[in-house]
């Protein structure tokens, strides 16, 4: 019982931190994508009037 008890407690802690870690990784990836998208759109807006004329 004690060994099983410890194993399941380990799984519980591991699962909790894994979920938080996966969320942090997804946030970091989204931040990088948004930064790139913002730069692209800003560049596009800056060049747009020349292209239209």
């Amino acid at each position: 019982m004690d060994a099983r008890n410890f194993t399941f407690m380990f799984y519980g802690f591991l699962a909790a931190w894994l979920i938080v870690l996966l969320y942090v990784v997804s946030l970091a990836r989204r931040s990088a994508r948004l930064r790139k998208e913002l730069e692209d759109v800003k560049q596009l807006v800056a060049t747009a009037p020349e292209n239209r004329v």
């Binding site: 019982m1 008890n5 399941f8 931040s31 913002l38």
Partner: protein
Amino acid sequence: MREKLVVALAAVAALLLAYNLYHIFLVLPDEASQGFIYRIIFFHVPAGIVGMIGFFVALTFSVLYLSGGDFRYDSLAASIVEVSVMFSVVNLVTGSIWARVIWGVWWTWDYRLTSQLVCVLIFAGYLMMRRAIDEPTQRARLSAALTIFGCVDVVIVWKSIEWFRNNHPGPVLDFRTGGGKMDPAMTHSLMLNFVGLLLVATALALVRTRQESAAREIDSLRRAAHV
């Protein structure tokens, strides 16, 4: 400024949680009837409470959006809901692992478990709905309405262990029972973990709010340039 605040919150949370891990594993004794496994409570309960507090903070921002129409409140509500869903999933998963040892099953349709699952599904639906609607005003209005609807279930989750007697234990924390159900040293560790996770949630919500602002900026630039 915001980045420094996020780093500071994360650093304080890391120190607090690291100190508390030492305390949980090396200082606190095993629980008399459950043995080692009871230590899951130090993440299971704080994660659940952080999730519930988040949903109610999101409710406040949603009502502020509905009354004033300021999109910053909508962004704040959406960011907080996302982080709260994540903590509610932590609560469900750790609870399921704990249940496997104590009840012998991974899941049972207990009032507390079911209402919490419904809560996660409602707010997961909220996040999916936001991705499906492009028009910002309609998205913000529907999101605010769904937050109000979802928070009714949060109240049911909170009160379910008082209203119904099922597999899930009743309230044990001092502020709900008036004391005497849990050892003060265990309560102290649980509260420290709650503060640590609350700081983590605040830092993550700040990062997520920054992303929402960037998405709004991209959207307005696109509209202005018709691209």
